[in-house]
Structure formats: C-alpha cells, structure tokens
C-alpha cells in the first residue's frame, strides 16, 4: 500500500518515470515518484501530491518491502 497519495485532479495525468506510462491514478509505484520529489525538490512533482510522507518514511517502507523477513521493531 502506497504511503503517498496523488491529488484527485491529477489521477488521469501522465508523468513519465519508471517503467510505466499509466496515468498517476493507476500507478502502483507512486512512492517512487514521491522519493524523486523529495530528492529533487521539484515543484512540478510536489504539487501532484495530496499526501507526501517524509523521505525517511518512504525509504523505510521501500527497505521493508525489499526485506520482508526482516523483524520490524
């Protein structure tokens, strides 16, 4: 489940990133875009998000997803 959330008005918007060309409302990698928004501080991306978690939270979720057997504290 994605931590970040796209604004409803941008659900049909297409942003080229990653491996897909689907509209933002249909992407399953929105958190990757959120990480890009943090690392670039690009207003063009930041404005797309209704909820933009912290970079630390996004990276932690990404790490947890990659290591499913890791014990969570």
């Amino acid at each position: 489940m994605a931590l970040s959330k796209i604004k409803e008005q941008y659900a049909t918007t297409v942003v080229a990133f990653g491996n897909s060309g689907l509209p933002l409302g249909q992407r399953d990698d929105i958190d990757e875009l959120a990480i890009m928004a943090h690392r670039s501080q690009d207003p063009t991306l930041i404005r797309l998000f209704e909820e933009l978690p912290s970079l630390d939270d996004l990276l932690k979720q990404k790490a947890d997803a990659a290591l499913p057997n890791r014990k969570k504290k």
């Binding site: 918007t13 297409v14 942003v15 080229a16 990133f17 990653g18 491996n19 897909s20 060309g21 689907l22 875009l33 890009m36 928004a37 690392r39 670039s40 501080q41 690009d42 207003p43 063009t44 991306l45 797309l48």
Partner: protein
C-alpha cells in the same frame, strides 16, 4: 583534491551496441525534467518527465527513420577555460512527400522561435535528452537545438534513396544527460 574534484569512470565490463533505436521531438517549453540534487558535486540523471502548467495536453512527436540510419555525435573544443560541445543528431527519413515538407517546416519554425527538444534512445537502451529548457521547474541555460544542414534527394534510379537526411545541431557546455525511466514511459507522452 587540492585543486579539482575528479571522479572515476569504471564501467562494469560487458558488451555494448551502437546505433539509435528511437527519436522523438518536443517543444522545450512544454516539458519539465526532474533531476535530483547533485551527489558529491556530481550532476544526477533525469528521473521523471512531466508537462508544465499550461501545457497539460502537450505531446512528444516520434519520427520514423530508416533502420540503422540515425546517429548522434559530438565534438568538444576548448578556448582557454571555455569548453564547447558541438552536438549533431542525424536521421534519414524516407520518401519526399507533403507530410515530410510540412514536418521540416515545423522544424524550421522551432529552430527560429523556440529551439527543439529531442529525446533519443540508443540501441543499448540508454535514453538521452537534448534541448531541454526546464529542469526541476527552473529554466536552465539555453540549449538551442536547430535544424541545420539537412538535405533532400529524390534519387535517380529505382533503388536510390528517396527522402531527407535531417540534421539537428546544437552547441552546449556538456554532453547530454540521461533519462533513467523506460522508453515505454516516454511513449505515453506521444501523440
């Protein structure tokens, strides 16, 4: 270290292929390229491409060229501390026809007024961007790609080439930056 911060170029050993797979054009005013902050002073590749406010319906325009007949080259020169990269992008477009004429007219207009944006996929999968204007919502120094030196030929014999060799040129301070997404993500921006 005492005078300049160098970096290594250590490529993982493996085969590579040459040539161009795909080319698409765009209006540099229509698209923004997302770039993360430099890491240890090193510029990062582009990671996302989005339309700018007011250009939500903007598209990129793929061009069909003859197989193995597109190429990009650059040559670097120096004058004191001033460095220049001369870029050339060439593509062989088949068949002289009205559509090609009007296509070339659009390139002429872009070269005069706005510059051209070019996104290129190499046969090895690397994707490069030329002529971009907006990076992380900021305007970057002008990277003006224009059509210059194109030639058309009807051919004489049946098996002669009939079409145009389109040449795009630009002078800039560096080689092209990569875009790290897949070409399929760029195709979603096509007409």
């Amino acid at each position: 270290m005492l005078c300049v911060t160098l970096q290594s170029y250590e490529r993982t050993c493996g085969p590579v292929t040459g040539g161009i797979s795909n080319i698409a054009l765009f209006d540099p005013n229509d698209f923004n390229f997302t770039q993360a902050a430099p890491v240890s002073g090193v510029a990062q590749p582009y990671t996302a491409v989005a339309t700018r406010v007011g250009a939500e319906s903007a598209k990129m325009y793929p061009i069909s060229f003859n197989d193995n007949e597109a190429q990009r080259t650059w040559s670097q020169t120096r004058n004191g501390c001033s460095y220049k990269f001369e870029h050339n992008i060439t593509a062989q477009l088949p068949q002289l026809n009205h559509e090609l004429t009007t296509f070339l007219q659009s390139l002429s207009a872009a070269g005069c007024c706005c510059g051209l944006g070019v996104i290129i996929r190499h046969n090895d999968g690397k994707i490069f961007v030329a002529g971009e204007k907006y990076v992380s919502a900021a305007s970057i120094p002008k990277f003006n790609v224009v059509m210059d030196g194109s030639e058309g030929d009807s051919g004489k014999a049946y098996d002669d080439f009939n079409g145009a060799n389109v040449v795009l040129k630009a002078s800039y301070s560096r080689d092209l930056y990569e875009y790290t997404g897949a070409w399929s993500s760029i195709e979603a921006l096509f007409v």
